[in-house]
Symmetry: C2
Subunit: 224 residues, 2 copies
């Protein structure tokens, strides 16, 4: 391992590295464990700053953060979820539909904070470095911000749940989001009674965690 000394100078010490993995492996999608206690502004400020330091194509930082604490707005958004969720249930085959309908898939009204992370596709002008050939890269940048926020929140003891069961246009209208801005993630945020050990959908038998070895390919696909 002699020859690894130089590269390893930039690795974190063991305890710090373990903390990063702890955030990654103990992060959960939270739906039903929100506590009403307010999240202090300092904590919210840190997790938003973590989001703002995500990578972004051409450094365009296309994200916006729309904070919702108003009960009225939450209830309106919850109504949109209910409508879309009823439609969604109808799309599953009978056996799955029953399980689907029993799952709790959002914590919109329970969570003290709702946050819509969006993407301003016009930010920094029409030609964006790195987006010239792959147009979705701006949306993907906003997703990187979401994941930074989710991990920072875990370290703060704050739970986050992503809700995507909406008609996009209806959500956009309910939140007053301008047409050139795309809602990327609707998040429910707050302290929690506990973090579950495993994903709720894994616990509920919806789907198992896949063996990672099945997901790894080498060189040209299928060439092994």
């Amino acid at each position: 391992m002699e020859n690894l000394k130089v590269p390893l100078t930039h690795a974190f010490a063991d305890a710090e590295r373990a903390a990063v993995y702890q955030a990654i492996f103990s992060r959960r999608d939270v739906r039903g464990q929100f506590l009403p206690e307010p999240v202090p502004d300092a904590v919210l400020g840190r997790i938003l700053m973590a989001a703002h330091h995500a990578p972004s194509v051409g450094f365009m930082q296309p994200w916006n953060f729309q904070l919702i604490r108003s009960e009225a707005v939450k209830r309106r958004v919850h109504g949109l979820f209910e409508q879309a969720n009823a439609e969604a249930a109808q799309m599953f085959p009978d056996a799955r539909r029953e399980i689907y309908s029993r799952l709790k898939l959002q914590g919109i009204v329970d969570a003290p904070i709702n946050l819509c992370v969006s993407c301003d596709r016009t930010r920094s002008g029409p030609v964006v470095l790195g987006r010239t050939h792959m147009p979705t890269m701006d949306l993907f940048s906003s997703v990187c911000a979401v994941q930074n926020l989710w991990l920072a929140a875990r370290a703060e003891g704050v739970g986050v749940g992503w809700v995507s069961i909406f008609h996009e246009q209806a959500l956009q209208a309910a939140l007053g989001i301008p047409a050139h801005i795309v809602p990327v993630a609707y998040l429910c945020i707050g302290y929690v009674s506990h973090f579950k050990d495993k994903p709720e959908l894994e616990q509920a038998g919806w789907l198992p965690r896949l063996p990672i070895a099945d997901l790894i390919h080498y060189e040209q696909w299928g060439a092994t």
Copy 2:
């Protein structure tokens, strides 16, 4: 702060929390600082496992990880980059084009490992919980995996650079990726001589870091 004691039981201790923020704030997009030293399998295995523990819509885990170490494949991909990058340069106005052409925007051949993270949109069947109304959620899940990997790599002292200046079809063909699978991120990975303090595009004067206050909105957009 008395009433914060209960919620805070799930927060990390100060040093661990600081380590998570350290990974988030010191993570960089690496292009020119790759070292040839191999990344041990144990380290690569850990950062891939971090990616595999990302959130995913309906727990579908749509990601694949295609590892490229072959010089021949890297050179082919680098050729695709060169072609797309020459086209990209022509899209910028004169003043920007000169700066653009001087920027190093990939480390494909320098990095010991290239990794294509993709998204299998057919995984777990046609109807996916949470994707019923917002079809991009599977792609976004693969992006969450990329960001987990990027942060884990930082903690390991390993640099990551995202390259998106490709024609998607050409990249897909060069890597032999089946048609129903979408390449989401092409990453260059390896130990580094150093991590820069700031984004290279910020240092180069391409764009400034935006003031976060300008990106925050409340309740209904513009309602404040």
